[in-house]
Symmetry: C2
Subunit: 492 residues, 2 copies
């Protein structure tokens, strides 16, 4: 089974596509660009949602729900926003079908044309700020800290499961504040929430930074992001947090009376992560045998495979497994016993490796006699014999060890593939090898654009954390002065 | 504040609309027929989701996600389904906007017309069964027990918040089975899950029964439902569970190899509840002062209002409240301290009554001295003085008492408004008074249709549980023989 996955070395892109499908995470649907998220993939997404949702609530946010549709005219209200978003989207023009007068099937009823077309939301700033106008009157109504879990649609021409799909699932936070300072702090707070989530739950090292003007969200004053490195050395933007200034408040006329009774426009942020994180998770950690899931996101943390001949051995081993499963469940470890009787153990081993289950426990008749199990770790592919006595405690501890090891491995890879580059010749050579290039840049759109045209590399971010290297230098492309290195990379 | 809600007696319909908006549950949006679910309303929906989701998982179901869009041709594949569903829906015809060549704003790009129109899902049987075709090969792939949480769109002409909206949120279960018997058992199991949820969580008494053929889901062989009674005596269908036979399997050619290796069509069920349950919750329990929430669904179970003059009293009372809040939180009770200093206690009392918080605790300076609190119950509007010592335990117990009392009250109301009716003259008189009428019916579509035309009453269900009255009789309308009474009512 695992053999059906293409090697990473051979064809990284095909390896990814194979893996998503073979590990039962998602598949393409009958609708161009829209995916079906299968139960195993959705269970991982649910774990991401649970954790993020509790982090949002701990930071004072509440969930709400806004309409799927946006009146076409709303998109034009914020000038930059429409430029960035309005173009490739699903447009609803009619509200009725009718029986085909010329035969079988149904056709669109021409009499049911909408007066104004509706756009399936590509993001919800416009409909939400139109709503906030009714909610915000006074400084006492602020801050307004709201999040929405929803589906959105962007009509992408070239789609890839999880990474770029016409419809995807996400959360979008939309907050309103009385001061610019407070909104800026919110923008920073939420990008830090994303960074913490990525590091501690996805086991994914990320760089936090600002986007350059060219890469900024349409309508934002500043965009913060988390950027991760995949195993092919390409960057993946895993989450963004935008300071929107007063742009949307002005576009939708949202003002509040301040403590002095004067009207002021409200300050805004928005921030989101999506099912794209599933793509990041897969590409950052997995290997040629299949997925490698961090224990915190694994729908099944331990799989048990009995090895037996005949019903008597089978019953004895499965009984012991049931007892061990109970002990593990009591410590909060999720266990599946694979008791399918039509498959050989080797086949099952490969299948659970493909699905990324962190720990596999096999018990054969001799193990049963000796009071031990064979325990295999997915992340290291190592095996050891462990006593059944105390197994639950041991495995519980192993969950943390594996979580940390997966992070450490990804961090090591990222650090090994991050380097300073100081000349244009070197840049053109190094960018072909992948990874993050820390380079001086003159801060202009023109230079950024040229570099992108010539090398397909973009500025992933101007780092604000561990990668901040404030030093004088000269732009690799133009030779003009620069005050800080930025991260260039090719990206998903 | 509470005064702004219309009396139920005066205008029940307006009372409902007022309540939904004034209690901050939902509001109409800029998009015709689509609502905004506000944070307080969404928090109640989240509690419903949590409980239902855990009940689905306990009964072996997994969540997944299928596309928002359905190719138009899919709707025609199951003949009855298209008749029942295809007509009023949102139709996507284009995938791009462009800058208006004649001026400002954006227009639909005529060059971006889709080859085949896409329908925003009104329900997902067709796209899901088209997907299942790829998932089901052998009896070993069955049963397939899947649920989806999603938004759906039905282009309703007359909409009401929560009860009937163009877009609504729901869950839809879609299961596949090897035998008719197993699928029928699943249909029954899930309607019982809904009934249990309604009774124990929503505190809503429901009748379980079969729909008549005329009221059946489009494409179903049999539809089971739960029916509740609102305070105006009208019925509300709160959930449905359909046995779909082999209709969708045949329409999408989904066959499996049975244990003998022969190909057979798969048997199907589908079942769903929606944000309509919010409407049922509101209309079943609330009064002229506002919402009455069962403790199991209340986002805030206890609100504390300090009564004080001056900062010294304020600090002392709020300190004590903090301690009590901690004790209550330790028992799992959700508490909010309303420390807003710009509002009088009377205003706060009215606001929290409007929002249906089950228990209100007020502490004044004398209460503080005496070690007591004033405790008010929302369901009975009674007040009592309770010692601070042991308050948490007392309130914890009160949550169950209130939950049960709300159910008992609704049950009493329903039973008082359910009666046997044996003649057509009596029926026409009684139906004007509202409530459930238990009547003999000859089992024909024609009679059902006539009764509906003449009285607007429909058969809510043919009961399968407590209301089963198997007795010989004659149809109230046609006088023909009948073997069982059914429930007639006017309905939402």
């Amino acid at each position: 089974m695992a053999k059906e996955v293409t090697n990473r070395e051979e064809n990284y892109s095909q390896w990814y596509n194979n893996l998503v499908v073979k590990a039962d995470l998602a598949e393409n649907s009958a609708v161009r660009g829209c995916m079906v998220i299968k139960p195993y993939g959705y269970a991982i997404w649910e774990k991401m949602q649970d954790k993020l949702d509790s982090m949002f609530k701990e930071t004072g946010h509440q969930n709400a729900y806004f309409p799927l549709f946006i009146p076409k005219s709303f998109l034009s209200r914020e000038a930059e926003h429409v430029e960035g978003f309005a173009k490739e989207c699903a447009v609803v023009t009619h509200h009725r079908l009718m029986n085909d007068p010329n035969g079988s099937g149904v056709v669109v009823d021409p009499a049911a044309k909408l007066e104004e077309e509706l756009i399936v939301r590509p993001t919800s700033e416009t409909i939400i700020w139109n709503t906030y106008k009714g909610w915000i009157k006074s400084w006492r109504d602020l801050p307004l800290l709201i999040n929405q879990w929803a589906n959105v649609v962007r009509w992408e021409m070239r789609t890839r499961l999880f990474l770029r799909t016409a419809e995807f699932l996400w959360q979008e936070g939309h907050t309103a504040h009385a001061t610019a300072q407070e909104a800026i702090e919110e923008t920073q707070k939420m990008v830090e929430v994303y960074a913490k989530f990525a590091r501690e739950t996805l086991a994914l090292p990320v760089v936090v930074g600002h986007k350059s003007e060219a890469e900024r969200f349409a309508g934002a004053v500043d965009t913060l992001c988390i950027e991760a490195m995949m195993q092919d050395g390409k960057a993946l933007q895993a989450g963004t947090s935008h300071f929107l200034g007063q742009n949307f408040a002005k576009a939708f006329d949202v003002q509040f009376a301040n403590k002095e009774g004067k009207l002021e426009y409200v300050w805004a942020t928005s921030w989101g992560v999506s099912t794209r994180l599933m793509g990041a998770l897969i590409m950052a950690h997995s290997d040629d045998n299949g997925l490698i899931l961090p224990p915190k996101l694994a729908p099944i943390q331990v799989v048990m495979v009995p090895i037996y001949k005949g019903d008597e051995q089978r019953d004895a081993i499965l009984n012991r497994m049931d007892e061990l499963k109970k002990e593990l469940a009591a410590l909060g470890v999720t266990v599946k016993i694979d008791d399918r009787d039509n498959l050989r153990p080797g086949f099952k081993f490969a299948e659970w490796e493909l699905k990324g289950v962190p720990v596999r426990i096999a018990i054969g008749p001799r193990d049963l006699e000796n009071g031990v199990v064979e325990l295999a770790r997915r992340d290291t592919l190592t095996k050891e014999s462990v006593a059944q006595e105390g197994l639950a405690e041991y495995v519980k501890g192993l969950m943390d060890t594996i979580q940390e090891n997966i992070y450490a491995k990804a961090l090591k890879f990222r650090d090994e593939n991050t380097r300073k580059v100081d000349s244009w010749e070197e840049f053109k050579e190094e960018i072909e090898k992948g990874g993050f290039l820390l380079c001086h840049w003159d801060g202009t759109k023109e230079t950024e654009e040229r570099i992108k045209e010539e090398t397909k590399a973009t500025i992933r971010c101007i780092p604000t954390d561990s990668f901040v290297i404030e030093e004088e230098g000269t732009c690799i492309y133009s030779g003009k002065p620069s005050k800080q290195r930025v991260i260039f990379a090719r990206a998903y």
